[in-house]
Every structure is written in structure tokens, then in C-alpha cells.
């Protein structure tokens, strides 16, 4: 066993030491903006996927797969990723759902979606409630060029809309084949008027979308506690670890 003092490297006379191997090409120092550049007024409740499986949720059977948060240095979005991974190749529909507050007035919603290039794209829509009591959908469509990273084809999808939705909105990203897919950097903000982007109209939600929206809202309210005691602050790191 080597001693502590030997292993703790107190650099001595480093300025005359060995040349430092140079990465090729040499990496560059960059400044990363606070919050990773996410708009502070983002109406998504949890855009960095901290609250799984509460706010970010997939209504899937337990033997189908699981949601996982990832942080990858080379993510095209520059932000954490929420990934669905199947346990086995079962061709079943899977959807990821998330919460946003509706915006009154022109709005822009966007999201990065990642999939293996050989698989069909995931369908993304923002679901809201109209003042007629109806669930309506804003489809998110591809915007810009797709980017390949981590073996996935990453595509930003987005929509502009001007719908007076009531209460909370629900983001739904769905696939039909039960295979892996990822989402990243969900953003819902007020749109700048006169930005040259025409509002797109909403459409009635499909039966699957409406069912997803209802199930998700019920999930939120049933899983949400009415107790302070359920959100204890961890007392020590070990206690935190033990709770995981």
C-alpha cells in the first residue's frame, strides 16, 4: 500500500518538468452560460429532467422499459437528456410526458428528439385544454438540420402557436415500436411577435393524445403529496444515499 503522502501529489518544480502531452487537436477553453443557456422564463416545470418519474413520466408497463436521465458532454442540445430504454424488443407504443404551464398569447415550443437513424421519428405534440373544454394538440415539426451524435440522429422539433389554453399543458413524445428514444432541452416561451413565424393552428387531440393527457394529469395529482413530510431534506450525504 502506498502512503498517503506519496499519493497526494504536491507538485514540485513542475515548471521544469516533462512536456505535457498535447491532445490532438488541442482542446479549447470555452465559457458556458449560467443554466446552460436555457431561457429563464421557460414554462416547462422541469426542463433538466430532475424529477423522474414524477414530472417526467411514461405510462408503460413495468416490463417494457425505463426512463433515465443522462448528462452527456457531446449532447447536441448541450443539456441533460431524458432517455427511454426498453428491456426487450417489444413493439409497443411508448410515450414520454412532461408538464408545462400554458402561455396566454403567441408562444414557441421546441425540443430535441434523438433516435437511431434507422428508426422512424418520434412524434411530438403539446397538448392543451381549450376554453371549450376540449383537449387540443400542437404538433411539433422538424426545424433545421438533424445532427448525429452518440449514434443517434438528433432533430430539433418546434412549433409556434397562439391558443388560449387553460391551466397546464402536457408535452407528449411518442413512438410506436417500443425502441429507445431520447428528448432534450424542452422550451416553451412567449414568442416574439413579428418574428416572421406564422402561428400554426391546433387540431383536436387524437384519441391516444387525449388519453395520454388525462392519464398524465391524473398521475401528477395522485402522486403529488399533500404533506411536507414527504419532501424531507436529506440530513447527511450518507442518508441521501441510503434513500436512493
Amino acid at each position: 500500500m502506498r502512503s498517503l503522502t506519496a499519493l497526494l501529489i504536491l507538485i514540485a518544480a513542475c515548471s521544469s518538468g516533462e512536456p505535457t502531452p498535447t491532445p490532438s487537436p488541442a482542446r479549447k477553453l470555452i465559457e458556458r452560460p449560467a443554466g446552460g443557456g436555457l431561457p429563464v422564463d421557460n414554462a416547462f416545470f422541469d426542463p433538466d429532467f430532475d424529477l423522474i418519474p414524477f414530472v417526467w413520466w411514461a405510462e408503460i408497463e413495468t416490463d417494457v422499459g425505463y426512463l433515465r436521465r443522462r448528462v452527456d458532454a457531446d449532447a447536441p442540445s448541450g443539456h441533460p437528456i431524458l432517455r427511454f430504454d426498453p428491456y426487450k424488443l417489444t413493439p409497443v407504443p411508448v410515450e414520454i410526458l412532461g408538464l408545462a404551464q400554458s402561455i396566454q398569447g403567441p408562444a414557441r415550443v421546441e425540443l430535441w428528439v434523438g433516435r437511431s437513424p434507422e428508426l422512424p421519428s418520434a412524434a411530438a405534440s403539446l397538448l392543451g385544454l381549450s376554453l371549450q373544454g376540449e383537449t387540443r394538440a400542437i404538433p411539433l415539426l422538424p426545424e433545421g438540420e438533424a445532427v448525429t451524435a452518440q449514434g443517434l440522429r438528433w432533430q430539433r422539433v418546434a412549433a409556434h402557436y397562439d391558443e388560449p389554453f387553460v391551466g397546464w399543458s402536457v408535452l407528449r413524445v411518442a413512438v410506436k415500436d417500443g425502441r429507445a428514444f431520447s428528448v432534450s432541452r424542452p422550451v416553451l416561451i412567449e414568442a416574439v411577435s413579428g418574428a416572421g413565424l406564422l402561428p400554426r393552428g391546433s387540431r383536436p387531440a387524437t384519441a391516444e393524445e387525449a388519453r395520454a393527457s388525462q392519464g398524465y394529469r391524473r398521475h401528477l395529482l395522485e402522486e403529488a403529496p399533500r404533506a411536507l413530510s414527504s419532501i424531507r431534506r436529506p440530513s447527511t450525504p450518507v442518508a441521501q444515499a441510503a434513500k436512493r
Binding site: 500500500m1 498517503l4 499519493l7 501529489i9 504536491l10 507538485i11 514540485a12 513542475c14 515548471s15 512536456p19 505535457t20 502531452p21 498535447t22 491532445p23 487537436p25 488541442a26 482542446r27 479549447k28 477553453l29 470555452i30 452560460p33 449560467a34 443554466g35 446552460g36 422564463d41 416545470f45 430532475d50 414530472v55 433515465r68 436521465r69 443522462r70 448528462v71 452527456d72 458532454a73 441533460p80 404551464q101 396566454q104 385544454l129 381549450s130 373544454g133 388560449p164 387553460v166 391551466g167 397546464w168 395529482l221 403529488a224 403529496p225 399533500r226 404533506a227 411536507l228 414527504s230 419532501i231 431534506r233 440530513s235 447527511t236 450525504p237 442518508a239 441521501q240 444515499a241 436512493r244
Partner: protein, 708 residues
Amino acid sequence: MVGRYVVGLMMISGLAWEAAAADFDASSGKLVAQSGDYLYRFDDYFPTLELLSVSGPILESDARARFEHNEAKAIEGSGYVRLGGTMAFGWLPIVNADRFFGRRVEMRFWQRPEGAQLYAELYWAIGPRGGEGALTGRLLFQPTGRATDDGWEEWSSGPVDFAMGGTLNPGWVFLDVPEALFDSDSAPTVLFDAFSIQDLGPAAVPAVACSVLNEDQRCGQDGLCLLGRCVDAAPLVGPLPFRASQRQYYLARTRAQFRHFEGGRGPLSKLAAFEEKLQALESATAAKVFRAGLEEAVNALGDGHAQAPGVGPGFLFPSTVCVELGRADLLPGAPLAPLITSISPGVPWTRGLAPGDALTAIDGLSVPEWRARAQSRLAYQGDEAGRDYATTQALLEAAIGSGAVLELSRCRPLPGEVSCPPERVERLKVDLGLAEAGVWNGGVLPWSFTDTSGCDHRFLSPVSGGNRADYTYAETEERGGIRYLAINGTPDDEHWNSSVSLAFSGTSSRVLLDQRTGFGGAKEAIDLIAAAVLAPEELYDIVDVPQIGVSIEAAQAAFPECKVKEVPACELFDSWDIGSSSMTQATRGHAKDARIAVLNGYDVSGNDYVARVFEHRDPSRTRIFGAVPTVGAYGVIFPLPSLPGERARGSLQVSDAAFLRRPGEAWTGFITGTGVAPQEVVLQLQSDILLGVDTPLAVAERWLREGR
């Protein structure tokens, strides 16, 4: 080669962390160490870095495999450690660091996420590492904003005094990879490299004696008083987001979270003041100012479910002595005072104290005066009228933590006396600072963090059995023609349901519900009580409504059928008909005609709902007793997602509740922020403690039996 180094000449006060850019060599794309740097390089296996899997210790061979050689990839030297996968935790000891004693330092490391992110906390401890019995200071590392174009990012402790209180060195950095998994080596990982300590100059906080009263003068803007000694505040209250842009983002995002999702209508009306308070913190330069300001802003909303994120261990000290705000009726003037209701056995500093003693002064000030000075240590959210009552135990714990001098007053009345004249009041003085000061010189504390009396707001429980400290506590028994039920919350729990059902389905026409400690819970539990004690015409439905962006009238017109479950219209709200769940069928209306006394104390959330349920009963057969209003948090609580550099979550209430007596009634009466007031105010009396009598309980029993 010297020319490629940019030596830290910019190390000037207040800008020290920015000078860190000097250690990156642009030509090599590597961090370059200077002579004398304190640096962990991780080029070779380093057994002192203790790595743990999710399930515990690991084999040395597994640990060795985590030290990878890859000169091109390493940010410094030729290697790094790969954490994550099944390797969830690590303890990195701070050793051979005596040169930082008495100095202000900044610790930094670099990480490269490959699926996972590393969180690190610097850790000071008196007692066993990580044990529940340890006094801890903890400081969470934050991203500095410096990164490389191949994915390395720098994290920092920010400036902090190395030795807590001038004597206690930090022991470890705790490393945590939340994305680690139990059983999969394919789980996400993160690279860890170049942990360093920089000397920023002399310590900022003088290691001198202090009290809450003089801590601003003696400890300075960066210091707080802990165990009678000035210490750096950041390891207690959490770090200042030291980068101005990070601080602005943090505050702006917090404002946005509440603006978008706060559901309490009362708190929403206070959002402008809340936002102003947060904005003022952008210029904060000290952790204690920033964290106290954040806490104050959240508290001022009056949302009993809202909590500022707890990023430090705070001021929680053990409840070695339980106190209740009561009437010290044996003392001249019968003042309100914290009254001792129980004492943990074997705690040295409590020798000589007894139940019934009244806390009458702290550090030479009256309790209200000291409370005002210690307000930043006494977090409370909800109805302001309940603040002093709810924070009385915390007040004593804050005094213990700061090393205060307590003065207690005791009276043992002579036969025929109802109280003591001034000259017969016995004054007891406890100098906690003196008793605790030894800890700064290697001694032991005069108490342990495992000492706790499990304090609640009952001097006595009306029922036997069960554990009063448990959230799921629910015991019932019948005695003297009264059915008693004691609960601590409204949990979704089988034993709780059974006790409550039994209490309200019995034959007794007199029931006493003791919820003097009530931490809330599930709506099914509220419904179980409501269905049993109400007649159908007294309460029909409870509707939880989030922010909706339109008027209540417009929403109600659009969603008229919301009371019906499982239909699309119910998407907007959470709504439940009283007595609609299958669990309530056996007890529906069983106690609707019973005479019921309710004892309230600190009641929040689900227990707020329970209190309001009883307001809907006929007052001739219902009486609500208590010292103060309940918290007034009628809605659904959501945890807030962590913001960058923050791990312990805050929370907020996302809806507000309308209580409807009949179908079609307008959704009004959103009163979050205003608790249920007692119909009869009753406080524990000092004289009753000496007699072994629980005053509120006795008063409620008398009303049940005699109607007065």
C-alpha cells in the same frame, strides 16, 4: 516551458475565482500545475479515494479499474477516475493540507459527463463521518462556467474558510453520481480529474467567541455564530452562487418557477413583492445574506407548502429538551413563554432543568427580542399568526446551535398561592456556549445529534400505544364515554385507516380528535375523516384548482362536469366528492351526529383540510381548540426541480382548494395563506405541567362532557 504558464497574478480579493483561467495552457489544451500546487492528479491508482457501489464497498481490483490512463483525454496529467456505472459514491479525504489552516481557500475539480453528472460536497464533521450523530458543515460545489470544447467542465466550492471555527479542518469531499445503478456496468459514467485547492489569503471569518446578538459585528459578513464561535456561513446555510451570471440565472429561474406554477391565490397576490426581494439578492456578496434573503422571500409568500431549497445543513440541532409555547401562569404577569414539557435523559447540559420551567431570556434578551434577532434561523411558511407557536422548538434549537445563554424561570407555588411573587421565582442559567466551546479544541459536545425527545405539540397524548414521533401515528381508545383519536398526519397507511375508521364507527357520541401535530398527507385519508363526520349537505366536493390563466367563471363554464371522475373535463382540476372512495363506505356518516372536539396545533396541508372539514359541521356539536390558526396550505405540493449547483429541493403549492356545499356552487373561497383559527383559544399552562395535566386536552374533555 515557463512561458506557457500564466501564473495567478490576478489573484486579487473578490476576483480570485476568475483567476483560475490562468491554469489552462492553450497550447497544450491541458491544465498545468504550478510549483507547490495542492492537486490530486489521479494518474495512478489512489486507494485513499474510497469508492463505493450503490450497495457498499467494492473490491480493490474494481477500484483500480476505475483509474484510466489516457493522456489525450485527461484534462490534467495522464489519467483520471471514471465514476458512475455501479460506482455511486466516493469519499475523497483532504489530507496533508495543514498549510491551509487559517486560510481562505477555493477547491476545484473537473468532470466530463459521459452519461452521468458528478455532485460533490465538501464536508466538515464532528463525530463519525456521515453518521447521523455527526455535526456537519457541507458545501456543495457549483459549475464555474469554465468548460472545454471537448466536454470537460470545472466545478468549484467557491471561496470558503478552510478550518471551521479556526480549528476544524474539512475532512472529505463526498462524491455522488445520481445516475449510477445497482446492477449495470453499462450505466452512465463521468470522468473526474484535477482536484485542487487554491490559497486565497487569510481566513475571512475570525475564530472568535460570539452570540446571535453580535455575530454581524464579530463574525463579519461571511460569518455566523455556531456553538459560540464564528464560522464561515456557507457550510451551514449553503453557498452563494459566486458567479454573478449564475446568481442572476438562479434568481430569475426561481422567480419564473413561482410565477408559472404557484397555485395559492393568496401567495399569487404577493408575487410582486416576492420578485422584488429576489431581485435585490442579485447584488448579494455573502452566502448568509443570499440564503437568508431567499428564505425570507419564500416565507413571505404565505404558501405553507413553499420551501426555499435547503442547500446546507442549516440550523437543525437535536431536541434534547421539548418546549411548547404556553402561558407561564405561575410567573408574575403570566407571560407567554416556551415551557419545558419533557427532557431527554442523560444529556449533561439539561441537568437541573425540569418540566414546567419557562424559558424567559436568551443571551440576556427577552425571548421575543431574541426571536427577532434570530429570525433568519427560524424558517416558517404559512399563516403569519402561527409563526411564533410553530417555531418555538426551532427557537430553542437555534439557541443550542449558537451557543446561547439560556435563562429559565421556575416557580413552585406554596399552598394557597396561584403564582409566585417575583422574589420567589427561581432563575436558572445555562451557558451553552461555555458547555459547547470545548468542541473547537477537540472536546466533545455536551449533547449528541442522536439525542432527541421526538417533540410534538402534545404535553400528553390522550391515547396509549404507538410511536408519537411517527408520521403515520394513529391510535384510538375509548375512556370515560369519550372516543379518543390521535394522529400526526393524513397518510396513506393501513394502520392509520384502521384506527380512524374504528374511531368514527364506534358507538360513542363524543369524539376527541387530537391532531396537534399534523404533517398532511393523502386526500383519501382526508376523505375518510370527512365522510365519517359530515352530513352530506354539509360538504359536497373539494376542488383543487391550479393557475389557469383565465377567470374562474370562464373555467367553470368550460368544465361544468369536473366533479365526475374519469372524463376529459376533469383534466384541469383535481376534484373529489366527499365520501366517494370505496374506503369510506363503511363509515359514511357514522359520526355525523357525534359531538366532536378537535385539537389543532401545527397543522399543515392534509391536516389543514381536516381542520376545514370540521368548520363545515354544525358548531353546536363541533369545537375546534388550539393556540393559533393552522398553517393554511390547501392544495397540492410539488417539489421544485434542482437548479444548477443545487441538490436539496425546494417546493411550492401548485393549486388552491374550493370547498363546495352543493353541486353547481361557484368555486370561491380560495384562502391559502390563512389557516383555520381555533374557535376556542387554549394554551398549555405552566401550572398544569406541574400537575401532569395537558391543558388543551382537559379543556376539550370538559367541553365534550359538560358543554363548556
